[in-house]
């Protein structure tokens, strides 16, 4: 943490008393998977932004749902019991947590959905997933000069994944030379899932020109499978901009050539900002806040820092 950050925190502390909070604000963050650096980044960025805006006295509880609705609902209930003021919720399912969110609202708690939408949330901050899918697949189309066989390794049926795939397909559909051979393999958004499903696809298709994966762990698993199978005839584009992916991009033998980077810090910051505004009694001009992605390739990877 830099001095600047500390300074920001101090500034926040100066502002907060003006809000007249008797007790220090408490924020609950429930993400899907703390094993994923992306969510770690969201959690950490949210904590930092909260300290910056509200002050060091702000309490931030970070929990991971492991994509389990029950567990997440229990976590929300624990947030309610702990008397938090704001919940950043990376929901395991779009409408699986209605009751829990309703209970939170009853308790006067604002719920901001991050990364994925959640029914009943006061606002949603998420990457423009359709744009991310479009960016990645635009890259693939350009690399293939508009013709080739493409497979998509899909993920869990959450809005972000659905939108990415849709964005990708919309871009692919603009090219008559592109043949989409498979798009229903669900890699679960994980390295292992990517590995398994890619193995499956490699077995099923002798010739593949390009692969789109819904996130970087999947892409890395797919690349690992290709390496194991000694198949290097295709390129991979993904969505995330995860550190390991960025490390991989400059490598000479990489199959992963591009990733449409999300900006978890931006998401977290915006979520905290919106939450603070809600707490202050502001009315938000819109519920959905999209953070534009950026395509990262070996050419521009230097310009992007870690999340």
């Amino acid at each position: 943490m830099s001095a600047r950050a500390v300074l920001i925190c101090l500034c926040s502390l100066l502002v907060l008393p003006r809000l007249g909070w008797a007790e220090p604000l408490s924020i609950g963050v429930s993400v899907s998977d703390l094993g994923n650096p992306y969510f770690q980044r969201i959690a950490r960025a949210a904590e930092q932004e909260a300290r910056r805006q509200i002050g060091d006295e702000v309490r931030v509880q970070v929990m991971s749902s492991a994509y389990d609705l029950e567990r997440q609902a229990a976590q929300i209930d624990r947030f309610i019991a702990a008397g938090v003021d704001l919940i950043l919720l990376s929901a395991a399912s779009y409408d699986g947590l209605n009751d829990a969110i309703a209970r939170a609202h009853e308790a006067g708690i604002y719920v901001i959905a991050v990364d994925v939408q959640a029914a009943g949330a006061d606002a949603t901050v998420t990457t423009d997933n359709a744009a991310a899918g479009r960016l990645a697949c635009d890259y693939l189309v350009r690399q293939l000069n508009g013709s080739g066989r493409v497979v998509i390794i899909n993920g869990p049926p959450v809005s972000s994944v659905l939108e990415r795939v849709e964005g990708c397909r919309n871009r692919l559909a603009q090219e008559t030379g592109i043949e989409l051979m498979s798009m229903d393999q669900n890699g679960g958004g994980s390295f292992e899932g990517g590995f398994e499903k890619m193995t499956h696809l490699l077995t099923a298709f002798p010739q593949i020109d390009a692969v789109f994966t819904i996130n970087d762990p999947t892409a890395l698993g797919a690349e690992q499978a290709a390496n194991e199978a000694q198949r290097h005839e295709f390129i991979i584009a993904s969505v995330d901009g995860a550190p390991r992916a960025l490390q991989r991009l400059p490598d000479a033998d990489t199959l992963l050539r591009a990733t449409a980077a999300q900006f978890p810090s931006e998401i977290a910051k915006r979520a905290i900002e919106l939450g603070v505004r809600l707490i202050r009694g502001d009315t938000l001009e819109r519920e959905l806040w999209l953070i534009p992605p950026e395509l990262i390739t070996a050419d521009n990877v230097d310009q992007f820092g870690q999340w």
Binding site: G35, M63, S190
Partner: protein, 876 residues
């Protein structure tokens, strides 16, 4: 014994079979065939049904079993494969998917197992194993879930530690805090429980140290909460390790259960396989039995069909035989044996019916043949009888007639047609033939006659312009109408005339014969006495001349009687077998002398080598007579032709083969009216005194007496031709003429001769002749006197007797008695009758020599001498 009874049974069966009607037999054959066909159909149907059932059973049971068992095997194998995925699920989300997947699979296998009813029997542990697997998998899922949550909890702790470390990382005062946080983070990665224990102890001491130090209380509290609070990091990690161990166990369990499941499924598959095999074997057996059943029944059917063919062939053969018979019968062959009559079936019926039919046909044919013959006969008679015949019906209309009818009545045949009335027919008759005459010459009324003809028999005549007389004999018919026979009497009347003529000739012959006979006896006496007188008178005296003239006249009278006898066929002939050609050749100079130089004689003689048996002298005489007649018919000269040849169809009583002697002249000819009478004696065309009128009648008599025939053809101005037919004799050689001895007369030496003669002049003349010849004579007038003389005296050398002695006993009787009583005493017979009359009237033996009266002295001398000599020869 067995063989005998079985063969008896066979015979009985065969008899029973033959006894069946054809219909029954064919019905039996067809029934058996039908039965066999039905049986084949049934067996085939049943077999196909069985096969179909087996197949559908196979489809219903075995195939699903196979597919289920295969699916079961696959799914159970998959279960074990999926389990590690569950155990290794990296995220709860994946776990949810995989565990759901695994549960689905187990549920499916369970459902599958439940759907296989035989499964319990074949793989009794399968259900249990599946349930056990489900339990294990559920455990595993739950465990993994707990593990994941633990991991996530650990991550939360790590995140807090990370946050703590980063907050105090650059604060040297809080280095122990950071150190402890890092130590805790390390503990979250430790895999060894012992090491974890060690780390926990160190953490405890470190935390206690921290509490005493001046550190941020918040951080210490956080560290204490993370490291030793409820759900502390060590506990979480320990739990995690335990769960991992437990997870490995569960995985191993699922593998073991899965393997057992595979074994069970394999057993079930084996069971299914063996069941399918059994089923297939059963189906195979059923098919084989069905096949053999069909084969047996087919063979039976073929046998029956062959039997049927054989029966039909036999039937067809018998039918064919009967048909052939019928065909041959239709062709007219009635003499054939009917086959299969003894059969008692339809063929037999047919054969018997055919036999009856044939008998009827034969009978009908016979009747029709006889009718045809009768009809032909009647028709022939109708058409060919010499009489005309007509039939008119009750209304007087012409029904039928024969050709002769029109011919006899000179009716125009083309104008006669059936239905013409009697009046119309009579209109067609010639004018003069319309009048009817009764047989006695009275004219009859035509209309009355026409009506009478329908009621009773009518006979009448009609006369035609050409002289023909036609007799009508009309008889009424039972159904009305009448039938009439028309006889042309012209010819019959002519024949009657001829008959009368021949009767006249016969009467004439008998008359002249009788007269000539008596006259002959008279002449014999006269001639004999004149000859005796001549010897006693003075030579060259007037008396001698007178006697000689009387003798000549008497001899001419004798010649006359000879010719009369010849006509009467009563002359004594001495037939010989001769060659006619030779005879004519030898008498040629005599003929030439007789006819004179103006007549040219032509001979065409072709009779040789055929021979005839006639009296050659009489034949010469006849031919000479004919030549002289011809010469008389040719006063201006002409040609006289003698011709002989063979005739094969003479129509004589003695046969058809004859020699024809033809004498033909170119003279004046004889008119038709005279021609019928030329053979009558004393008929002559010459002036009175120029001819005797006996020439041709003598020839006629001679030829007839020689069993020949004579015919005369003559045309006025063209000449006369006379044909003499003489019967041919085959066996005999022609006899050479014995030249009469011209030497001195043999004379007796006083031998006694018994003379038997009833006619006194002849007796006296004979006495004198024998006396003059040197014999002594005792004369008697009767047989009785002859017997007396023969008994009184024994010195007779000869008996000389007339045959006809005017009594019942004749000369032949005498001769026979003498031959019996006095053998060696010769008997010389004499008679004025010819030999044939003697043999027919008196039974004269053939070859018996008879001295013909009247006899000359020379003939008597030779006959007596010969008789005596024969006796001497016999005696010597």
């Amino acid at each position: 014994m067995n063989d005998a009874s079985s063969s008896a049974r066979q015979k009985a069966a065969s008899r029973l079979w033959r006894g069946l009607r054809v219909r029954t037999r064919l019905l039996i054959a067809f029934s058996v065939l039908l039965g066999a066909t039905l049986a084949i159909a049934l067996v085939g149907w049943a077999g196909l049904s069985n096969t179909g059932t087996a197949l559908s059973q196979f489809e219903e049971q075995a195939l699903p079993d196979i597919s289920r068992s295969l699916e079961l095997a696959e799914r159970t194998a998959n279960l074990a494969a999926v389990a590690p995925y569950v155990a290794n699920a990296s995220s709860p989300f994946l776990l949810q998917g995989e565990s759901q997947n695994l549960r689905d699979r187990i549920a499916k296998v369970l459902a599958l197992a439940g759907a296989i009813p035989q499964l319990d029997a074949a793989a009794p542990r399968l259900q249990t194993l599946l349930l056990q697997l489900e339990r294990t998998v559920n455990d595993l899922v739950e465990l993994t879930r707990q593990r994941l949550f633990l991991r996530e909890d650990l991550r939360q702790s790590e995140y807090q530690l990370g946050t703590l470390a980063s907050r105090y990382g650059e604060d040297p005062q809080h280095a122990p805090v950071v150190q402890l946080a890092e130590r805790l983070m390390l503990a979250a990665q430790v895999n060894n429980p012992a090491e974890l224990d060690l780390l926990q102890q160190r953490y405890g001491s470190a935390l206690a140290l921290l509490k005493t130090g001046a550190y941020d209380q918040v951080a210490v509290d956080q560290l204490e909460r993370i490291g030793s609070g409820e759900g502390n990091l060590f506990q979480l990690r320990m739990n995690q390790l335990e769960l991992e161990q437990r997870s490995a166990f569960l995985l191993a369990s699922t593998r073991a259960i899965s393997e057992q499941l595979s074994t069970e499924v394999g057993r079930f598959v084996d069971h299914v396989e063996s069941r399918i095999e059994q089923q297939s074997r059963r189906v195979g057996i059923a098919v084989a039995s069905g096949k053999s059943g069909i084969l047996i029944i087919t063979l039976l059917g073929i046998t029956v069909a062959l039997g049927g063919i054989w029966v039909v062939r036999l039937l067809a053969r018998d039918l064919g035989a009967v048909t052939g018979l019928m065909t041959r019968l239709a062709a007219g062959d009635t003499d054939q044996q009917t086959p299969a009559v003894e059969r008692i079936d339809e063929i037999g019926d047919l054969a018997r019916a055919f036999q009856v039919f044939r008998e009827n046909a034969v009978e009908i044919a016979r009747i029709s043949q006889s009718l045809r013959e009768q009809s032909r006969l009647l028709e022939t008679v109708f058409n060919n009888i010499n009489d005309g015949l007509s039939v008119f019906d009750g209304e007087g209309r012409l029904l039928a007639w024969n050709p002769r009818y029109a011919e006899i009545l000179s009716l125009p045949a083309d104008k006669l047609e059936p239905g013409a009335t009697l009046e119309q027919v009579q209109e067609l008759l010639a004018e003069e033939a319309r009048d009817s005459w009764a047989l006695d010459g009275v004219a009859l009324d035509r209309d009355e006659l026409n009506s009478l003809r329908r009621e009773r028999v009518q006979r009448f005549e009609r006369h035609f312009a050409d002289g023909r007389i036609v007799e009508f004999r009309s008889s009424p018919l039972p159904g009305g109408g009448f039938v009439t026979l028309y006889s042309d009497l012209t010819e019959r009347k002519a024949i009657e005339e001829q008959l009368r003529q021949s009767q006249k000739m016969e009467v004439l012959g008998q008359l002249t014969g009788g007269v000539a006979h008596d006259f002959n006896n008279l002449l014999a006496a006269i001639i004999g006495n004149l000859q005796l007188l001549e010897t006693r008178l003075e030579p060259d005296s007037k008396a001698v001349n007178n006697a000689r003239r009387a003798l000549a006249a008497a001899e001419r009278g004798g010649g006359l009687t000879q010719r009369l006898l010849a006509f009467a066929r009563k002359q004594r002939l001495q037939p010989e077998t001769i060659d006619v050609d030779r005879l004519i050749g030898e008498m040629l100079d005599l003929i030439e002398y007789s006819v004179g130089p103006a007549i040219e004689i032509d001979l065409t003689l072709n009779a040789t080598p055929w021979l005839v048996n006639v009296d050659p002298g009489q034949l010469e005489n006849a031919l000479l007579n004919l030549a002289i007649n011809s010469a008389a018919a040719m006063p201006e000269g002409g040609k006289l032709r003698f011709e002989t040849c063979h005739v094969d169809n003479a129509g004589l009583e003695s046969g058809d083969e004859a020699v024809l002697v033809r004498v033909q002249d170119t003279g004046a000819g004889i008119s038709e009216t005279h021609l019928a009478r030329v053979f009558e004696p004393f008929f002559t065309t010459k002036e009175v005194g120029e001819g005797s009128g006996l020439g041709l009648s003598m020839v006629y008599g001679f030829v007839k007496q020689s069993q020949g025939d004579i015919r005369i053809h003559s045309q006025l101005g063209e000449g006369t031709r006379i044909d003499i037919l003489l019967p041919r004799v085959t066996d005999l050689r022609p006899q050479e003429h014995d030249q009469d001895d011209q030497g001195a007369l043999p004379s007796g030496r006083g031998e006694w001769v018994l003379l038997v003669e009833d006619d006194q002049p002849v007796r006296d003349m004979a006495e004198d002749m024998l006396d003059s010849l040197g014999y002594r004579v005792e004369s008697v007038v009767s047989i009785e006197a002859a017997y007396t003389a023969l008994t009184e005296r024994t010195d007779f050398a000869l008996v000389f007797t007339d045959i006809n002695l005017g009594t019942a006993e004749n000369g032949l009787h005498l001769a026979r008695d003498v031959a019996e009583m006095l053998p060696g005493l010769p008997v010389l017979l004499t008679s004025g009758l010819p030999a044939d009359q003697l043999s027919s009237r008196y039974g004269l033996p053939v070859g018996q020599f008879v001295l013909a009266k009247p006899y000359h002295r020379e003939a008597l001398a030779r006959a007596v001498s010969d008789a005596l000599a024969n006796t001497e020869n016999k005696e010597s």
